[in-house]
């Protein structure tokens, strides 16, 4: 559905995106994981046609370049910044966008989406009166108003409460289930691990690795760490087979507690860049 080939984008001497290549298929949630300034938002801006790449190509389904009007009709974007008219109500925001996209029955469509993100009871309230989490949910709904098939979500859970985060992640998973291609940028590895079918690790404009979470961990995450507490003290072992190590510790006797630290995407990032994701 989304085909990105070797795109590059620089601003003066700063290279924001450097030879990024990936594909995103229908029904897939593709995570772009990286720290702030990794180039995720620039990649999204380029993929949605807001910026023209210096080189490389992007295709949205059969419609081609995202800068073509046909392709734009397929693209849904929830920008990192909450992009809503605060003086308008939640419904007015969605109805306006539905009309701009030429949707039939814009009010019905707006109410459908408000229901989907749990804001229908607040439909008539001005956005300015909403909490940050509610605004995030409406920001997501606004991206879906024209029923797009290629959805770009740029840090959609930034700064939201746990309740709204759960609601947003549920909606994103539902979108994938409906057969849409979703690109999801985040610097929260837990989110990426929870919902993404595949993940691209980005840093300094480049994609360092792409794969499923399990693949990335297996390839770059390193060993699990098994810690065995006994009367003799704490014993830590790095191993690719943690269960076998635990079995061995229990067989030897004297263990009072056993803990396993499995590698995660944080470890993958550390292994790939030598830095922690949140540095």
């Amino acid at each position: 559905m989304i085909r990105v080939r070797d795109i590059r984008k620089s601003f003066g001497s700063i290279i924001a995106v450097d030879g990024v290549t990936f594909d995103v298929h229908r029904g897939e949630i593709f995570g772009l994981l990286g720290p702030n300034g990794a180039g995720k938002s620039t990649a999204i801006a380029t993929c949605t046609g807001q910026l023209a790449p210096d080189s490389g190509s992007i295709e949205i389904g059969e419609a081609g370049s995202p800068r073509a009007a046909r392709a734009r009709a397929l693209i849904g974007l929830a920008p990192q910044q909450i992009a809503l008219y605060e003086e308008l109500s939640a419904r007015e925001n969605l109805v306006f966008l539905a009309r701009v996209h030429g949707m039939p029955e814009p009010v019905r469509r707006a109410d459908e989406l408000l229901d989907m993100v749990g804001l229908l009871p607040r439909a008539r309230d001005r956005v300015a009166t909403f909490s940050g989490g509610m605004q995030r949910r409406l920001n997501l709904a606004a991206a879906l108003v024209h029923n797009p098939t290629a959805i770009f979500l740029d840090e959609p859970t930034a700064g939201v409460d746990p309740q709204s985060r759960t609601a947003i992640l549920d909606v994103v998973q539902r979108l994938a289930t409906e057969g849409r291609a979703v690109i999801y940028t985040t610097h929260y590895m837990e989110e990426a691990q929870r919902i993404c079918s595949r993940v691209a690790i980005m840093d300094r404009g480049r994609v360092l690795a792409i794969g499923t979470v399990a693949e990335l961990i297996a390839e770059h995450g390193g060993d699990s760490v098994v810690t065995v507490d006994s009367l003799a003290g704490e014993h830590r072992v790095r191993t690719r087979e943690p269960l076998r190590e635990i079995e061995r510790a229990l067989a030897e006797g004297g263990a009072t507690a056993v803990r396993i630290e499995q590698p995660d995407l944080e470890m993958v990032f550390l292994a790939l860049t030598g830095r922690r994701l949140r540095d």
């Binding site: 920008p79 992009a83 966008l97």
Partner: protein, 423 residues
């Protein structure tokens, strides 16, 4: 096209939701028009400004003018010619023109013999309330001047008594004494019962009796001369209406950019040209709405007359188009809302001021009138005046309309190109 219309409607809704922007677009121009209208008309607690023209000098006329002049309720300007007085009224510099006819002195002499003095008053038809007040004041002063000769009724009776005694002691013939007694008797009756001799209380008889009558005429407003100060101030208000609209929508692009909604619009099926068209359309509609609001308010509240309706329609359309172009130039110049608002205020304020927003074009000194040619507001105000009190024809209207249209074409073309580059 439909998407651009929806965008314009959204912007208009946002304008109405932003109380400050709505105030400066719709209420402020009206307030300015009223403020300057009243300032120029002199409708305050200040003395009534009156022009006076004496057709033929006489002691009675001189006494009346002197009394009016000394009365605190008037600020009198005596003119040498009736036309000069009428001109003051037309310009709103006087509420009315008092005409003291050549027959005034004769009328005063016959005030007790069934005749009476007559005065003429020409008033500005749009200032009838002040005109009525003026008539009342003139009666009051005229009454005083006549009674300066007769005093109050009690004193007048004493005077008559003294005259009666003098008459008895005189050596006049019987017929002469009879004639004088008859006149004195009539004067006594008038002072106690009224001029028509009907039974009435003393106070009523004096109150009802008017020593002079005032014939009121409304001044016909000549084309080329404003009917009143509001004819000027409401057209002046148009400058501020346009100022508010351009400032509100000029920052629209920057606002969309800053709130992130521009990104949404750019990834929608709307082209950048359609987005900009929607922005310009919202500005155009607002300019048009505020212009007509002022025209109708002037018409219904202050009798500001539109001399040529088709031209007025053309003026409002072309003006709205021209200022939509200015809005686009403003939008192109700055990327942030603060920058657009700040610079917009600074530049537009100066242009509005020299363009007739504060000092009306007709009152401007020559050098300022020349400088005002640089201001698009000047052409808008002038065109609006042309379709109202200036009573211009198509030929005279051609220049301001052409200038405004050219500004619109330039602004929309260059502004759109620049904004497109920035988004």
């Amino acid at each position: 096209m439909r998407a651009a219309v929806f965008l314009a409607l959204k912007d208009l809704r946002l304008l109405m939701r932003d109380r400050a922007a709505a105030f400066f677009t719709f209420v402020f121009p009206l307030a300015i028009a009223l403020f300057f209208g009243y300032v120029f008309s002199g409708t305050t607690s200040e003395p009534l400004r009156v022009a006076a023209f004496v057709e033929q000098s006489s002691p009675a006329a001189t006494m009346l003018i002197k009394a009016l002049d000394e009365d605190g309720g008037f600020k009198l300007t005596v003119t040498d010619a009736r036309a000069a007085g009428e001109q003051l009224v037309r310009r709103g510099e006087a509420v009315g023109l008092l005409i003291v006819p050549a027959t005034y002195a004769e009328g005063i002499d016959g005030v007790f013999s069934g005749g009476g003095a007559k005065l003429g008053l020409v008033v500005d038809p749009s200032r009838r309330a002040e005109g009525a007040m003026l008539v009342g004041k003139i009666h009051e002063v005229a009454f005083r001047t006549v009674f300066a000769t007769v005093g109050d009724p009690v004193q007048f009776a004493r005077v008559l008594d003294r005259m009666e005694e003098s008459l008895k002691a005189s050596d006049l013939s019987f017929t002469d004494r009879l004639a004088i007694r008859t006149a004195m008797s009539r004067a006594r009756t008038m002072s106690t019962q009224g001029a028509d001799g009907s039974a009435a209380t003393q106070s009523q008889s004096l109150a009802d009796w008017k020593p002079v009558s005032v014939d009121i005429a409304e001044l016909s407003m000549r084309p080329g001369v404003p009917a009143n100060s509001f004819a000027i101030s409401f057209m002046q208000g148009i400058a501020w209406a346009l100022f508010g609209a351009v400032l509100s929508f000029g920052s629209g692009i920057a606002e969309e950019r800053q709130r992130g909604t521009l990104v949404r619009l750019l990834v929608s099926p709307m082209s950048p040209n359609q987005i900009l068209f929607g922005k310009a359309l919202a500005c155009f509609v607002t300019c048009l709405a505020t212009e007509w609001m002022l025209v109708f308010a002037g018409m219904f509240l202050f009798r500001v007359e539109v001399s040529h309706w088709p031209l007025m329609v053309a003026v409002t359309l072309v003006t709205a188009f021209g200022f939509s172009g200015i809005m686009m130039l403003l939008a192109a110049g700055f990327r942030t809302q603060g920058g657009t608002q700040g610079a917009g205020r600074a530049v537009l304020l100066v242009l509005a001021m020299i363009g007739g927003g504060t000092v009306p074009l007709v009152f401007m000194p020559p050098f300022l009138r020349v400088a005002s040619n640089l201001s698009p507001f000047k052409w808008a105000v002038m065109a609006a005046e042309g379709a109202t009190w200036r009573s211009w024809g198509m030929l005279e209207m051609l220049l301001p309309l052409a200038v405004l249209a050219a500004i619109g074409v330039f602004g929309l073309t260059v502004g759109t190109a620049l904004v497109r580059r920035s988004i």
